[in-house]
Structures are given as C-alpha cells and as structure tokens.
C-alpha cells in the first residue's frame, strides 16, 4: 500500500476558506439556508465550515444538521460491508429552505442519491446544493455533480481517497491511497 499527499494541511485550509466564501456568495446571510452534513465523514467538514463562517465571517445563527443515510442505501443486503447507522439530527424545519449537502468525497454519487431520498422524510426543501471537498471525476454511477468542490481528483479503479481531519485522525490532509 502506498499513499501520496493530495492536499496538505495548508491546502486543506485554503480550500475550506474558498468554499466558505463561495457559500457566502450564494447564500448571503444564510437566513434561508441550512447546512446538512452527511454522516459519518461529511460531518467533520460541515462542522469546520460552520466554524469558519462564524469566526472569520461573523455569520450568526447558522443551522447545521446531520443526516444519516444508512437505511436509504441501495446496497442493503447486496454488499458485504456491514452498514452501521449513525445519528440523524435535524432539529429545525427544512420545508422551503435552501439546503446544502456537505460530504467529504463525491465518488459514485450513490450516497448523495440516498441522502436526497432520506431528506424528503423531513419535508420539501426549496432547493438542494452539494458541496464536497474532493470530487472524484470519471467515477460517477449517477448523474450527480457538486455545486462547490475543494479539489477535483482523477483517481482510478482501486485507488482510494482518504480525507483526514484533525479532530478524528490527528491531522488535516487528503491522501490518494493505492492498494
């Protein structure tokens, strides 16, 4: 197994700042916008963006929820991977709001497809956008594209993109792992 650094801590930081600014461009004061971190790994990115928006850009009353998609996945019983559910926490109304889904890596698009179904249980949002730190180009199974992306990556076949967060893994970095 070999791994190569795609983004180091500084580059992750720059990408996060840019993504935060792009969100402000489109959502102004976030009055009618809610952020939804996709469980489990999208939550770290979502929390990070929220704290940048609050501390660096003085945004107030940001709404951030977590959405777990386990029960909505299309590979239930079909994958040998054991699916483990995480907490869903959306304690505000999403009806007629602008939603931004936040996830760390966009790969096949199937997680986002599941998230689109899952979020309907909470109401009918006005629109939904997608923000991802890493967009793995050429690997989509579904017609789903991000509205905001940190970095586009051409990863092939059995290569894996690993996103590390200081809170969880001890450092901010993105690796391309070759099995």
């Amino acid at each position: 197994m070999s791994q190569k650094v795609l983004l180091n801590a500084t580059e992750v930081h720059i990408a996060l700042q840019r993504l935060a600014c792009q969100l402000i461009e489109n959502h102004d004061t976030f009055e009618n916008t809610v952020l939804i971190g996709i469980q489990p790994r999208g939550v770290f990115l979502a929390e990070r963006l929220k704290s940048i928006l609050e501390s660096d850009y003085k945004m107030k009353d940001l709404k951030l929820g977590y959405l777990d998609i386990t029960f909505y996945r299309d590979d239930f019983r079909r994958s040998n991977k054991i699916l483990e559910a995480n907490k869903t926490k959306i304690d505000f109304v999403i009806e007629d709001k602008k939603l931004v889904f936040i996830d760390d890596v966009l790969y096949t698009g199937r997680s986002i497809r599941s998230a689109l179904t899952a979020v309907q249980s909470f109401g009918r949002p006005m629109e939904i956008e997608l923000l991802t730190l890493i967009d793995r180009r050429f690997s989509r199974h579904l017609p789903i594209q991000p509205d905001y992306r940190g970095r586009q990556v051409d990863a092939i076949g059995d290569e894996k993109v690993k996103v590390c967060w200081k809170e969880q893994d001890g450092e901010d970095a993105v690796y391309l792992v070759n099995n």
Binding site: D68, T70, F71, Y72, R77, I82, E84, S121, F122, G123
Partner: protein, 312 residues
Amino acid sequence: MKELSVNHLLGIKYITEDDIHLIFETADHFKEVINRSIKKVPSLRDITIANLFFENSTRTRLSFELAEKRLSADVINFSAASSSVKKGETLIDTVNNILSMKVDMVVMRHPNPGAGVFLAKHVNASIVNAGDGAHEHPTQALLDSYSIREKLGDVAGKKVVIVGDILHSRVALSNIFALQKLGAEVKVCGPKTLLPKYIDKIGVGVEGNLRKALEWCDVANMLRVQNERMDISYFPTTREYTQQYGVNKALLDSLNKEIVVMHPGPINRGVEITSDVADSKQAIILDQVQNGVAVRMAVLYLLASKIKPHED
C-alpha cells in the same frame, strides 16, 4: 461485531449480550425515524414478511405489522381462525405453502412451546418468534429491557421484580434471560402455585411478599394472570389475588422510593394493577408500546440484512 450472531430470533436464550446491545443501538435510530413527519425508510422494500398468528394478539401483531410497514416490507397476514389449519393442515405444510409465494421472513405466534425452533429447522426463511406457548416472547423482553434502559440509563446493576403468573408466562422467561444477560438482578414474586418449581436454579430470587419485593426493586414488571392457560384453580379468588399481589397507589406511595412500573399488556385493571397506578407517571406502559415498534424494526432490519438477495 455489528451483525447478529443468529439468523432467526427464536428466544433470548439463543442470542448473546452483544446481540441485545446491537438491537438496542439500532432501535435508537429507528426511534428517531418513527418520530419524523414521514415515519418510513425504504430498507426492506424487497423483503416480504408473513405474520402467522395461531393465537390471539392485538399489541404484538399490530406492532410487528407497523414495524414491517415502516421498513417498507411487503406484509401478508394470516390468522389461524380463518385458515386451512382448521381443515387439518400441518404447520410445515402451511408455512411451506406460504413460502412458495416468495416470502423471506416469518413472524409467528403459536400456542406450542418450541414451534419457532421447529419451524426454523424445517423451512427456508428467517423466523421471528412472536410468542410460543409458555416458552419465550423475545421481542417483548427486548422492548421491556429497552424501556428500562431508556428510563434508568442502563439495565446493568438494576433490580427488577416480575410479579404475578410466572408459571404460564413466556414474557417472564424471556425477560429473565434478557435482564440477566444485561447484568440486572431478577426476582419473581407471586403465589407459590404460580411460580415454577425450579426457578431458583436459573439464578432468580423468589419473594413471596409483594411489599418486600417492591422495597427491594428499582423496576416492577406486573404480569397478567393468564386465565386462558389455567387448567386448574391456582388461587382461591381473584379478590384474594388482588389483595396479596396487586399494586395500588397507596402501596406505591408507602415505599420510601419511586419505582418504575411496567406491564406488558393486556392489563386487567383492578386485578394485578389498579387504574390510578396504570395511568400514573411511574408507569411506563405506553412507552413500552412505542418502543415495541422501534425494537421490532431493529430486529427485522438486522435479521433481513443477513438474507442475501434472491438469485432467481
């Protein structure tokens, strides 16, 4: 871990402590789901479940059916009263006929102890025991322990007394197994005639006096007197039973602590429990019912995850 050690839920006896914790953690997520405005997830949309009830039931049957529907499974219902069982069909034949219609899971209640175990050996489907005679009622025990965990934070180290007709009760036996596996202390309390002879051999304490039992416990699980299973007279009169083994508000108020009161239903108001207790804040009877749906969703979901999609 993160997968059940069994392919069927036949009784608490056959599952591990880890299995119970996994079911509880999964039930936590489903409890959140059933409190949403849209209370449904698509997980089991390609699973068909047959509910076979060879014995009467209201709560368990509705609870299972609701759990199945909230998981988007296809459901067929069967009750013995209106079926060919009356014409002399055997259990295996009945179930195999139903399974040939491509049914993946069977939820069964049956008057004979061990009916679920027998079926699991002979037919190709995942079996969930919804009560087999006086043997086990595993989902009831799971939801009871889940409700204790929800109310008191943990089951381990808690003292639970099961009061009433232990002899004829599948709820009692499953509860004893579940509580012991989770590390709780269990006592039973009731007239001697309604306590199984060797109950102390499975590590259960026996207390003849209800007041002493209540003073000892954190949780009292009140069982119904199962008149329909009684072939002889086990106590002189219902009135005498109530006086010795029924809980009322005055008795609860005279204890020096507030205990949690549970009842698996159906309640015989005024016999094992008075109305003012059943409707009081100490009673978590309706929480038990709500948790029943979440716990059954967890059981069905976890068992279904072990069924591979049909090859044909």
